[in-house]
């Protein structure tokens, strides 16, 4: 009887813990030749918007830019400097950068890395046990501009109720709030991997 009770207790614990540690939504792939610890000066290019939400790309870019500044780990180039660079090179959001662009980013803006992003899903979903919750999926790429190479690529996907604690408490109901939380998670992950090492 005692062993049976222990067995059921362990079964219950496993069930509870497996519920808590679901599939990880943040995936970062770092290049084998990357040198993330040398990245300090960074800028954010406008995000490419693959969704039907018209202004989602610029909103996400501005929130992510704010999160980078707020992290205190990076020296972030102002959005205006990046806009003028894009204007000079006539670069649309999501445009592929060439060697010449990387050279110019390094020389004119003294950057170590540049972030390019792509929003793949933005919207609201119902049917997850709560009222409508926002959902965002984003892919970010960090390029080492000094070497002209991809440094890392991150994919992150979240629903507003991923942050639910008890009942409806903790559920994020706004896209801004959700993207801000996701930005913090992404930047924390990058810092853990060695980025933002400003000496």
């Amino acid at each position: 009887m005692k062993y049976l009770l222990r067995f059921f207790f362990l079964l219950f614990l496993t069930a509870v813990l497996s519920g808590c540690f679901g599939a990880k939504q943040l995936q970062t792939r770092i290049m084998a030749t990357a040198r993330p610890d040398s990245v300090c000066r960074i800028a954010v290019l406008p995000f490419d918007n693959w969704t039907n939400e018209e202004q989602a790309g610029v909103i996400a870019q501005r929130i992510f830019y704010g999160a980078l500044v707020n992290s205190g780990a990076f020296e972030v180039r102002s959005e205006g400097d990046v806009s003028l660079f894009r204007l000079r090179h006539r670069l649309a959001p999501g445009a592929l950068l060439g060697k010449f662009h990387f050279t110019d980013l390094q020389e004119k803006l003294q950057l170590d890395a540049i972030v390019q992003g792509r929003l793949t899903e933005v919207g609201s979903l119902s049917g997850r046990g709560a009222d409508e919750v926002p959902v965002v999926a984003v892919q970010l790429q960090v390029y080492d501009v000094r070497r002209g190479e991809l440094l890392l690529s991150t994919f992150h996907h979240r629903w507003g109720d991923d942050y639910r604690k008890v009942m409806h408490f903790g559920t994020v109901t706004t896209l801004t709030g959700l993207f801000d939380r996701m930005s913090d998670e992404i930047i924390t992950d990058w810092i853990e991997r060695g980025l933002g090492n400003c000496q």
């Binding site: 707020n70 009222d131 709030g177």
Partner: protein, 497 residues
């Protein structure tokens, strides 16, 4: 009881310090608040009522604000439409002109909706370095503010705004943690334009430079290429620098450096590779290949369409290209001009400029191409378009009392029948003649049915391009036999003889 009172008092004190502690440190700084961007009103949307609310919230926190009208005037003077273009230079200039330590930009990322939400993000820019040094994002919605028994629950966006602004801006006075990228340049290079950027040797180039300086303007501004320096003159009205020079003769890419010279001390700053121009003297070279055309009698011919494959021999930036269609006699039927690169392949179905099919015949197609320096190349080819088989003419002849069928092609088409077959039928459907052959005209003898005035011809033919002609039951009139002249019978004297 007393312990509880001390505890509550202590907590209240901590709360007060937390609320106003930040504001105290900010109050020492003068802040310029730019109009709040509002993406719910489009990419360039601004929200002035909300800007005033933010201004009020900051003033309530004890922050010294630059007057809103002064900020708007600064934006107008510096042609700053949205802060997507607020670069580090303009932030520094804002600090200098408006005498502020911080430029605060804010964005309304979400507002309103069925269940009202409000999303805001703020970024503070340090006007000494021109870099962003602080940022905060926050959002809330009615759904997130559910309270016990719904007492004091916010109902509108305005109800959401005040606590959210207090929460976000209360941190503004906190320690600045983010590092700033030092802006070593005291000027903003808005743009350098060369016209034309691609030239032939010894052609004139004009340069326009838009540059703004934070402090004193340089005494001399010049551009240098290939160790040749050209000084630019400033237009006193627009402040734009302009200059012109002659391109060198030799082909090649010529990078330009910008030279700025200040004062009697001749302090010189060189900005390398600010722009470039290219000298191109050779025309691009053009060759045309034609596919889907048949080679007949040393001529290219088609009946449906041809594929034109232009090939640029020396790849250079192209300005425009054109297509001419002329008749064999040289009459221009259409000419069409397009900007940009020539397509890799073109299909011609024999249509003219307005889309109508041209008549069968011989045409000359010419392609022209111009590179950005204005060098021109062209190539042309002749092609025969024949979309219809030749028409025929059939008639019955009578010679020496014999009936003959004569079939001939009508004049016009370049290529005639390669094969044909015919059958001549009597009025009652009796086959009088069957024949196959290659060439026309032909004359065939047949035996008519006596008394019939009409015959019918079935003809099938195919020309060398594959166009087919089928004539079924083509009526042919049989000409009447001319009555023989009666020779008067003269009684011969011989018989009587």
């Amino acid at each position: 009881m007393l312990e509880r009172f001390y505890l509550a008092f202590g907590q209240g004190l901590i709360l007060l310090i937390a609320l106003f502690g930040g504001a105290l440190s900010v109050s020492a700084q003068r802040v310029a608040l730019l109009p709040m961007a509002d993406y719910s009103r489009g990419l360039d949307g601004i929200n002035l009522p909300f800007t005033r609310e933010v201004e009020k919230a900051l003033t309530d926190l004890g922050v010294e604000m630059v007057q809103h009208e002064h900020v708007l005037r600064f934006m107008a003077e510096n042609r700053l439409r949205s802060f997507s273009y607020l670069d580090s230079f303009l932030v520094q200039k804002m600090g200098k002109d408006l005498k502020c330590a911080v430029a605060l930009i804010g964005t309304v990322t979400e507002i309103g909706g069925r269940k009202p939400v409000l999303g805001l993000t703020f970024t503070a820019m340090d006007t000494v370095s021109g870099s962003p040094v602080w940022s905060e994002t926050g959002a809330t919605g009615i759904a997130e503010q559910a309270r016990f028994l719904a007492i004091g629950e916010p109902q509108t966006v305005q109800d959401l705004a005040a606590p959210l602004l207090g929460k976000l801006l209360g941190h503004l006075g906190g320690t600045v943690e983010a590092g700033a990228i030092p802006n070593e340049r005291s000027y903003q290079l808005a743009g350098m334009q060369l016209f034309p950027a691609y030239v032939r040797g010894r052609e004139k180039i004009e340069a326009t430079l838009k540059i703004r300086f934070l402090h004193a303007e340089p005494t001399m501004v010049a551009v240098e290429s290939n160790q040749r320096r050209t000084y630019l003159e400033q237009d006193p009205q627009t402040g734009i620098y302009q200059g012109r020079w002659w391109a060198p003769q030799q082909d090649g890419l010529y990078p330009l450096d910008l030279i700025l010279e200040w004062g009697a001390g001749r302090f010189v700053e060189r900005v390398e590779n600010i722009s470039s121009f290219q000298v191109i003297n050779q025309p691009p070279g053009l060759e045309i290949k034609v596919k889907k055309a048949l080679q007949l009698d040393n001529q290219q011919a088609f009946r449906s369409h041809i594929l034109i494959l232009p090939k640029i021999l020396d790849i250079k930036p192209m300005a425009r290209w054109a297509l001419d269609i002329r008749t064999a006699e040289g009459v221009l039927l259409t000419t069409q001009e397009y900007e940009g690169d020539m397509p890799e392949r073109m299909v011609w179905e024999g249509r003219g400029g307005e889309g109508y099919l041209l008549s069968d015949g011989k045409y000359e197609i010419t392609l022209h191409v111009w590179d950005l320096a204005g060098n021109h190349s062209s190539d042309s080819f002749m092609v025969v378009m024949q979309r219809h088989a030749p028409q025929i003419k059939a008639e019955i002849l009578t010679r020496q009392g014999k009936k003959l069928l004569q079939v001939a092609s009508l004049p016009g088409p370049v290529f005639l029948f390669e094969s044909w077959s015919l059958e001549l039928l009597s009025e009652h459907g009796e086959s009088l003649l069957q024949q196959n052959g290659r060439d026309l005209p032909l004359v065939l003898e047949f035996v008519p049915v006596a008394g019939e005035e009409k015959l019918f011809l079935n003809f099938t033919g195919e020309d060398r391009l594959g166009n087919r002609l089928e004539q079924v039951h083509m009526e042919i009139t049989v000409p009447e036999l001319k009555p023989m002249k009666k020779v008067p019978q003269v009684d011969s004297w011989v018989q009587d003889f």
